[in-house]
Structures are given as C-alpha cells and as structure tokens.
C-alpha cells in the first residue's frame, strides 16, 4: 500500500525532472548560437545542461519501472522514526509564509514577522497562539530595530510607522 503510493510519487517526480529538462531544452535551442573565437555561443552550455536533465529524468523513469528508485528512502514514516504526514502542520507553515508575502509591504516587517512566527509555532504543535504572537512581535521588533538602526538595512515599518517613527522605509 505504502509502496504503491511511493511508486506514484517517484513516477511523478521523474516525469517532473523530464518535463523540466524538455522545457529548458526547447528554450535553450532558441538561444543564438553565434560565438566569436570560442566557436560556441550562449546556447551551448544551456543545451548541454538541459539535455543532461532530460537524460537524468529518463534514467529516473527507468528506475521506477525496474523495481523503483535505487537506495530510496523508506515510504513508511515509522521506519524513518517519524510520524505520518501531518497535513495541518504543513499547511500552517505554508499559510504563515504566504501571509508574510502579502503582509510585509502593507503591515510592515514587525507585524508580518509576528504572523509568520505564530503560524509556524502553531504548525509545530504550539497550542497557545496569543503567547506565540507576543513572542513573535517582540522578536520582530528587536530584529527590526537592530537591523534598521544598527546595520542600516531598510525594512518596511507599515502600519506601525506612527509608532516606529522614521525608523523604517
């Protein structure tokens, strides 16, 4: 059962590598080939690299159909000393990162950092989001002040601009 799912994943990944290689190859073949003294143009290495990826994708595919990938990692999480794939945990980490992308220019670095901290902590099993948010806020604030004031690295202040003053950008 686990093996069947594992084989499907291997098939999908092998096809992914193959597709990436083919896509890169078609792009590379459209690059100009004129090349001065060396006789090779800006397309030569891209063609070689994407060609290699096509070959590697094919090789992975061959392994799938001849008994599965060699020296593969066990598909049974218990055998790896881990637990089964925890979808909410994975999702919380992803949500945190996606929220930060959206928030960083609007709400500013400090609030975005608090959000990503809280979501990731939740993903790792923390049950006290309010406390995590406070820690994330303080961490974001300390990092913000250190980098903006001390290292002169510009970070967006966002909604907290009135409080943080002209510290950010």
């Amino acid at each position: 059962m686990a093996r069947a799912a594992g084989a499907r994943a291997e098939l999908a990944l092998s096809l992914g590598v193959l597709a990436l290689g083919l896509f890169a190859l078609t792009t590379a073949l459209n690059l100009p080939s004129a090349g001065g003294y060396s006789g090779i143009g800006p397309n030569a290495i891209p063609v070689a690299v994407s060609g290699a990826l096509v070959a590697l994708g094919a090789w992975l595919l061959v392994e799938v159909f001849t008994g599965g990938w060699r020296a593969r990692i066990s598909d049974d999480p218990l055998e790896r000393g881990e637990h089964a794939f925890n979808t909410p945990a994975f999702a919380w980490v992803s949500v945190g990162l996606l929220a930060q992308m959206v928030l960083i220019h609007r709400a500013g670095f400090v609030l975005a950092a608090a959000v990503v901290f809280t979501c990731v902590a939740r993903g790792f099993g923390s049950a006290r989001p309010a406390r995590d948010a406070m820690i994330g806020l303080v961490l974001g604030l300390v990092v913000f002040l250190f980098f903006v004031k001390f290292l002169n690295v510009g970070l967006p202040a966002g909604w907290l601009a009135p409080v943080l003053g002209g510290a950010g950008i």
Binding site: L13, L20, A24, L31, P32, G36, Y37, S38, G39, I40, G41, P42, I45, V49, S50, L53, L56, W59, L60, W69, A71, R72, I73, R80, G81, E82, H83, A84, N86, V93, S94, G96, L97, Q100, M101, I104, H105, F109, A112, A113, V116, F117, T118, V120, A121, R122, G123, F124, G125, S126, I135, G136, L139, V143, F147, L151, V153, G154, L155, P156
Partner: protein, 500 residues
C-alpha cells in the same frame, strides 16, 4: 617559508585589531549557537546573514563567517551527544558513541573529548592550511582555463555522483543547480537566458534565496509534516566535565589519527566530512584495545570522528581559498560571500587581497582558542539553548530566513521564490535528493562556463584543448575513473553472485 611566516604575522595584525576580534567573537558565538540548535546549520546561517552584511567591511564580515563555519562544528557535537539527532551527516558517526556515553552518565567527558579534540584537530589543520596554501597557490597560478574547467568538473562529479546514496539523484540536483545558475544575463555576450522577460530573473537566481529556501523553509516544512509531534529525549548533563587519565590516554591518539584522515579528505574536492568521520570511526574501532565497548559508548568513537570532522572542514578551505572551488554547501555560500564584495577566491587572492586572506587564516587560529574557551566552561549555557521549544525555534528560524531573503532586494517576489524553493527542498528531503550539489552547481556553474568558453577562445574553438593539456587531461581522466570504477566493481560483484 619565511615569506609565509611574515604573511601570517601580518595576518595576525589584521585579525587582532579590536573590531576584527569582535567580529570573530560574534562569529564563533553565533556559530556555536546555530551548531547547537537542531535545524540550523552554518550554510543557512551564513546565507541568511549575507544580505545584511554588505555594509560591513569584507575582512570583518569574512572573519565572522569563518567563525560561524567553525563554531557550528563545535556546537554540533553538543546536540549530537545530548539529543542524538545528528544535525548533519558528518555528525552521525559521533552520535553512535556519544549519545551512548551520555546515556551512561558520561556526557561530560564525551563533550570534553569532542571539544578538545576539535581544538587539537582544528589547530593542527590550520597550521597545515598555512603551509599548504602557498604551495597550492604556486601550482594554481600555472593553471590554464582548461585546467580550471577540468577541476570544476571533477568537483561537480565527486560532490554529486560519488558521495551520497544515489548517483542519478545527486546528478539531478547538480544539474538543477547548474540550470538555475544559467538564469539571467550571460556575462560574455549579454544574451538573456531563461529569464522569460521577468525583470526579477535578469540578475539571476540569488544563492541566498536558494540556500535559505532549501535549508530553512524546506526543513521547516519537512519537520512540521513528519517530526513536529515527536518528543525529543534530551540527555541530562550530569557529572563532571573532567576526562579521567584513562580518557586522555585513549583520546589523544584518536585525535591525531583523525586529523591525518580528515584534513586530506577536506582538501581534495571530495566534499563533505561524512567519509572521513566514518573512516575515523572504523579506524578507532579496529585499533581499540576495547572493541567490545564500541556501540556502548567508547570514548575513541567520539574523539576520532569529531576531530576528523573539524580537520576536514578546515581542509575544505584549501581549495576554496587557493582555487576558488567550494566542495561543500557552506563553502559555496562562503564563496558567494566573497563574490558579494567583488572578490574572487583563487590564487590571485593571495596577491591582491593578501591582508584579507591572511587575516582570515590568522582568525582561524584565534577562533579555535576562542571556541575551546567558549565551549568547555559555558557548556551549561549551550545545553540551555537546546531546551528552546521546537515551535519557537522554527518560528524564529523562519523569521530570520524570510528576513534574509527579503532584504536582498526589498522585494516580496523573493519571498515567493523562497517558498517555491522550500517546496523543492521538502521534496528533496523526502525522496532522498542531496541538497549540497544544487547550491554548489548554482555558485560554481557560471564560473565553470566562463572557464570553458575562455579555454575554447584561446584554442580558437578546438575542443581537444581539454585532453591535450596534461593537468586538464589527468583531472578529466580521474573524473571518468571515479564514475566508471565503482560501476565496474558493482557489475563484477553482481556477476560473481550470479555464478555458482
């Protein structure tokens, strides 16, 4: 010889200025902390700090980065011994005996032999580095572009195909890294490649985004999905740190043997400290008067691998500084740090940036002493670091990871790329693709292409230049042998099994 000594002395003058000493202390402290923390490694830390350090002068920044690189080796042993979660493959050998010693209440001597062994191996290796670097530089000055290209191919193949469990998966990661390295404007002709008209792609894929994505985001996604509900068993740090007379007697030969094994492995572009640590473990097991103790906490099994780990990580600096060839993920990021300042490591570095490079080497001597001082008496503090709950640890890691990626160009687009690389990192971790070849491919690929085209320009497009020049030819032959010989051996073994 006197020349080297003079250069080293002026290097000490650079490294001992108060500000550089301060950067060194910050580096080794930070390095120890990230070494102790599971889930954060030196490659990730340096990558996250890269965009933030552009305003610091290069010597100070590089001394700090070297301190992180070094400190992480020391700190890693603490985690391995007390928590039995080797943070990196090079610590697996230490985990075998170290955690067993901790379980038997001998955590103190295990930590002590790891720290003192690291100091001994590290110091001897820095001396070897000092002596060897000028010789390699002399040799490298005679390298032609074809020779360089062959050397890089050799490094690619050893890192991707020879190490690791699967040749095809190692090569796949390498070529994905090489492909990512091609994105952007071609330096020779100004041609846009793989940019698809996206302005953010014209400058190429930044190594910071790739490394932080693969190491931090990928690790966090993987950890959340598969490990977040596991309770770690932290061994208590009980009893004294003191090693008994017997511990000393059994440790010091192991340290020296491990240095002899580790340093050469680091210097050849064979990447990683995994092989020398296991070799050292096996050697100690074979030579030990108490082989029955192995598997139950033999001190030689900690002393050897830890020393080998340190010696080989110093050895890695030889090809990095003298040839500009990184052979581990961290070395690749260090190379990117040099490039950030417009400095290209290689033989010329020793002439054009003599005070920087010798200051850096001198800082390694100082760093080793600092680390010994920092690690033994303060061990209790580092153990406290280990008790940070995982939710906060990973929350913090991702705050810093996104900070590093974002501050590159103050762009939220980089955060999207970061997440995509994070998903890639998750998949690579889950299905057994090594990460280091991708990072090395991205950094070293463009340099290899430049050398390749330069070599062909000199030869007027004649490709035989790679096999008619002796250095290039022998390196390529060696590379081919590295691939073909193991394959032949496997074939022979299979045939032997088939025969009755």
């Amino acid at each position: 010889m006197t020349e080297t000594l003079n250069a080293l002395l002026s290097g000490f003058a650079v490294a001992l200025t108060p500000i550089n000493l301060l950067w060194g202390v910050i580096g080794v402290t930070l390095g120890t902390a990230v070494g102790v923390l599971p889930g954060v490694g030196p490659a990730l830390t340096v990558a996250m700090l890269l965009p933030l350090t552009v305003k610091i002068d290069p010597t100070g920044a590089l001394i700090m980065f070297a301190g992180i690189y070094y400190g992480a080796m020391y700190g890693g042993s603490t985690t391995t011994i007390l928590l039995n979660t080797p943070g990196e493959s090079a610590s697996i050998a230490t985990a075998l005996e170290g955690n067993k010693m901790a379980k038997r209440g001998r955590a103190g001597p295990a930590l002590a032999t790891a720290a003192i062994g690291s100091f001994v191996a590290g110091s001897i290796s820095v001396v070897l580095l000092t002596l060897l670097a000028p010789i390699v530089v002399e040799l490298a000055l005679r390298f032609s572009p074809a020779d360089y290209f062959a050397l890089m191919v050799f490094a690619f193949v050893t890192v991707a195909a020879v190490l690791g469990s699967s040749t095809v998966r190692g090569l796949t990661t390498l070529f994905i890294g090489l492909l990512l390295g091609l994105v952007g404007i071609d330096e020779t002709t100004g041609q846009m490649r793989f940019a698809f008209g996206v302005p953010e792609l014209l400058d190429g894929i930044d190594v910071v985004v790739l490394a932080v994505g693969l190491f931090a985001v990928g690790e966090a996604l993987y950890g959340a999905a598969y490990q977040s509900r596991i309770k770690d068993q932290l061994e208590r740090m009980s009893g004294s740190l003191m090693m008994t007379r017997d511990d000393w007697r059994r440790s010091w030969p192991a340290w020296l043997r491990a240095t002899a094994i580790g340093f050469p492995f680091g210097t050849i572009p064979a990447g990683g400290a995994e092989i020398p640590t296991f070799l050292s473990y096996a050697t100690e097991k074979k030579l030990s008067k108490h082989p029955e103790e192995f598997g139950h906490g033999a001190i030689e099994g900690v002393a050897g691998p830890e020393a080998a780990n340190n010696a080989s990580s110093t050895g890695v600096l030889v090809p990095l500084l003298t040839l500009g060839i990184p052979t581990s993920a961290t070395a690749a990021i260090l190379l990117a740090a040099f490039q950030n300042y417009g400095i290209q490591p290689g033989p010329l570095l020793f002439q054009t940036q003599s005070s920087l490079v010798w200051g850096l080497i001198a800082s390694l001597y100082i760093g080793n002493v600092l680390l010994l001082v920092l690690n033994l008496p303060l061990i209790g503090l580092w153990v406290k670091v280990l008790t940070i709950p995982k939710p906060w640890l990973y929350g913090g890691i991702l705050v810093f990871a996104t900070l590093g990626a974002y501050s590159l160009h103050q762009s939220a687009t980089d955060l999207i790329t970061l997440y995509v690389f994070g998903l890639l990192g998750f998949a690579m971790r889950r299905w057994g693709f090594p990460v280091a070849p991708a990072v090395i491919g991205l950094i070293l690929g463009p340099l290899a292409e430049t050398q390749f085209r330069r070599a062909l320009s000199i030869s007027q497009g004649d490709p035989s230049v790679f096999i008619t020049q002796p250095i290039s030819a022998s390196l390529l032959a060696l590379t081919a042998a590295l691939i073909i010989v193991p394959w032949l051996l496997r074939l022979r073994r299979r045939n032997a099994r088939r025969a009755p």
